[in-house]
């Protein structure tokens, strides 16, 4: 399958519009507040869609399809348990302090609430994390585009070696994102994210439609895959009786509470979108509107994975009679389906798991489905959707990095007290620097895959306990700066220790854990992740409380607007019922419970 003129045309049109939006937004990027906070003038629905879009990066689209193929509809827990409750919580309870404190970033809130050192720890780890994650996702996208072989023919015509597809993909996307953020700042990124959101939907919805049509709808999927793929809650009583390898407690505490709230309620990449809203009410509605859309995203990104595995393990025609239909979990050898067997790039042989069965390359589930179903024309739309998801994710990282670097590192420690114009310029330069560093990280990932895995792991330790810091900071006035800092540091240490002392089943000690000693074996990597988070959070929480009780708190007068009990309640819930955060929050929670019941 290669691209025709129409497909190229669609990709080109997309790039023109994305750049155009950046340039249009640049006319209003005159001050630091414009560039870093989009002038706090964006309507709630735009912020809400940007909030989702910044998360709907290529890694999410590809990764959720892969998990869908591997774990089934239980992957939706990452949305229904792992996102919606936290999004409702930040909208209803936390946003008043983020938006109302007039802090310009997450770390800056920590400085206002606690002290310099807590902010510095959070700012530096966050800045490094955004660069790494944008680099890794850039690498993943370039690798994917190369694997799809859609650009092989045009590159061959130009006489360029195939390796240039990788470089071309990285440099083109980096350059485009650079231009529209450099010009338009956060406003340019947010408006583009809305466009990108609709393109992602336009690219993946028809894929799900065609796929379901072929496998006989949801009933067809249930019939061919069996209950372990199509029920989200079946077998959750024990870690060994479901595909995820976690039990309900690990799932709801680890994913549903610590990881979910840690990400959605504190990660500046998402919080920044809400802080750009044009009023307190709009800021609070942003995550709630986003939640309303987010709960349906699984159907867009997870179903392609389920469809792909249905077409792989029970191929309709090609290998009929060759293998028995899939018993849950049994994956036939060399099934000639949508998902190919993973090939070791060094030896050219199929990669085997610990029990000697060939591993499937789940990451190709969604992209291969796209190649299979989309003819010329729709292929262009599908590739545009992939590119759009990639750019929205990357832009989310870059704008968050810009703000945190400029305000929380540069202004705080390198050059305080300069004019606003100076920081605006620094912000623009930081865009350039941040993207260059991401490209560097992407190439590092292609050279030393393990180093990047290691970096991501270390950063995951940093992130696990941070929700304890924000939660106590916002809702317990007695929390002190020393308590927050020591608690955070303890949480990070405990996360690392827990990882070093435990190992998921079928793995060797090393990057997957157990590098100190193996004292406990988890049924799956996911279970290990969730429990690492639970331990880190609990340690961070209790140490923060203990140290706070031993140290002197800030005077209450300094905490107005930063802590729940010392902030005047927002009584004016003006506007119609559907404008009220609490009402919206209740609706979202009820809706997500209904979804869980349907797919139990």
């Amino acid at each position: 399958m290669s691209l025709s003129g129409v497909d190229w045309g669609i990709l080109a049109l997309y790039l023109v519009f994305v750049l155009g939006i950046g340039i249009a937004a640049s006319r209003r990027a005159k001050s630091g507040a414009d560039f870093f906070l989009a002038g706090r003038a964006i309507p709630a629905w735009v912020c809400g869609l940007a909030f989702i879009s910044a998360n709907l990066g290529a890694q999410e689209v590809i990764g959720m399809g892969a998990s869908g193929a591997k774990y089934g509809i239980a992957t939706a827990h990452f949305y229904w348990i792992g996102a919606i409750p936290a999004m409702v919580f930040i909208g209803v309870f936390m946003m008043p302090f983020y938006y109302g404190s007039k802090a310009r970033s997450g770390p800056e809130y920590l400085r206002l609430r606690f002290d310099e050192k807590t902010r510095a720890l959070n700012a530096v780890s966050f800045a490094v994390m955004t660069i790494i994650s944008s680099g890794v996702s850039m690498y993943a996208l370039a690798k994917l585009i190369q694997t799809l072989h859609v650009f092989d023919a045009p590159f061959a015509q130009l006489g360029l070696p195939q390796a240039w597809i990788f470089h071309g993909a990285i440099l083109t996307s980096a350059l485009v994102v650079l231009v529209y953020i450099y010009a338009g700042g956060l406003r340019g990124a947010i408006y583009n994210e809305v466009l990108q959101f609709f393109l992602i939907v336009a690219g993946f919805a028809p894929l799900v439609w065609l796929g379901l049509k072929q496998v006989g709808g949801w009933q067809g999927l249930q019939a061919s895959l069996g209950p372990s793929y199509t029920h989200a809650w079946a077998g959750m009583a024990h870690a060994t009786t479901n595909r995820l390898g976690v039990d309900w407690f690990g799932l709801s505490m680890g994913l549903g509470f610590v990881l979910s709230f840690g990400y959605w309620c504190t990660d500046f990449l998402v919080v920044q979108r809400a802080m750009a809203a044009n009023s307190m009410s709009a800021a609070r509605r942003t995550p709630l509107i986003a939640a309303g859309v987010k709960m349906f995203v699984p159907f867009l990104v997870i179903l392609p994975g389920l469809i792909a595995i249905a077409l792989t393990s029970a191929p309709d025609k090609a290998s009929a009679g060759l293998h028995a239909p899939a018993v849950a979990g049994a994956i036939q050898q060399h099934a000639p389906g949508v998902i190919p067997v993973k090939i070791d790039s060094a030896t050219g042989k199929p990669m085997l798991d610990a029990r000697g069965r060939p591993q499937l390359d789940y990451d190709l589930a969604t992209p291969n489905l796209l190649l299979r179903y989309f003819p010329t024309g729709m292929l262009g739309v599908g590739l545009t959707a992939l590119l759009a998801s990639f750019m929205s994710g990357m832009a989310g990282n870059v704008t968050a990095f810009n703000t945190v670097f400029t305000y929380d590192i540069y202004q705080a420690y390198i050059r305080p007290g300069a004019e606003d114009r100076h920081y605006l310029q620094v912000g623009r330069l930081t865009t350039f620097f941040g993207i260059a560093a991401s490209v560097g990280a992407a190439y590092m990932a292609s050279q030393f895959n393990n180093i990047m895995d290691l970096m991501q792991l270390v950063l995951a330790f940093v992130n696990a306990p941070v929700f304890a810091t924000f939660l106590l900071g916002m809702f317990w006035k007695r929390t002190t700066g020393h308590g927050a800092f020591v608690g955070l540091a303890t949480g990070i240490t405990v996360a690392a220790l827990h990882h070093g002392l435990t190992l998921p089943l079928d793995n060797l000690p090393g990057i997957k854990g157990g590098w100190i000693a193996v004292t406990h074996t988890y049924p799956s990597e996911m279970a290990q992740n969730f429990w690492t988070a639970i331990w880190a959070w609990s340690a961070g929480f209790s140490v923060t409380v203990a140290v706070s009780l031993m140290t002197r708190p800030k005077p209450e007068a300094e905490l107005a607007g930063l802590v729940y009990s010392l902030t005047p309640k927002v009584v004016v819930e003006q506007g119609a019922w559907y404008m009220r955060p609490v009402v919206l929050g209740v609706i979202m929670m009820v809706a997500v419970v209904i979804l869980n019941i349907i797919f139990r």
């Binding site: 735009v46 003819p375 262009g380």
Partner: protein, 73 residues
């Protein structure tokens, strides 16, 4: 002057939609049978995208006429 993001969204979806629908109209039916479960997905989805784009443009037009509030004041 206010910026309405629905304008570029509408324009882009309308253009891509018309383009893809045109491919569907002129394309070889055998391709769709082999590829997209027997459905002329180009024509159908092209029209859906074009329709969505048209609705966005209509909203922009109504907002400019002052019948609906602009999204960003």
């Amino acid at each position: 002057m206010t910026f309405d993001v629905r304008l570029p969204i509408g324009l882009l979806f309308l253009t891509i939609g018309v383009l893809v629908a045109a491919v569907g109209l002129t394309g070889d039916p055998a391709v769709f049978r082999a590829h997209s479960a027997g459905l002329n997905i180009d024509l159908v989805w092209g029209l859906v995208m074009a329709g969505f784009g048209a609705v966005m443009l209509l909203l922009v037009w109504l907002a400019r006429k002052g019948e609906l509030p602009p999204p960003e004041a």
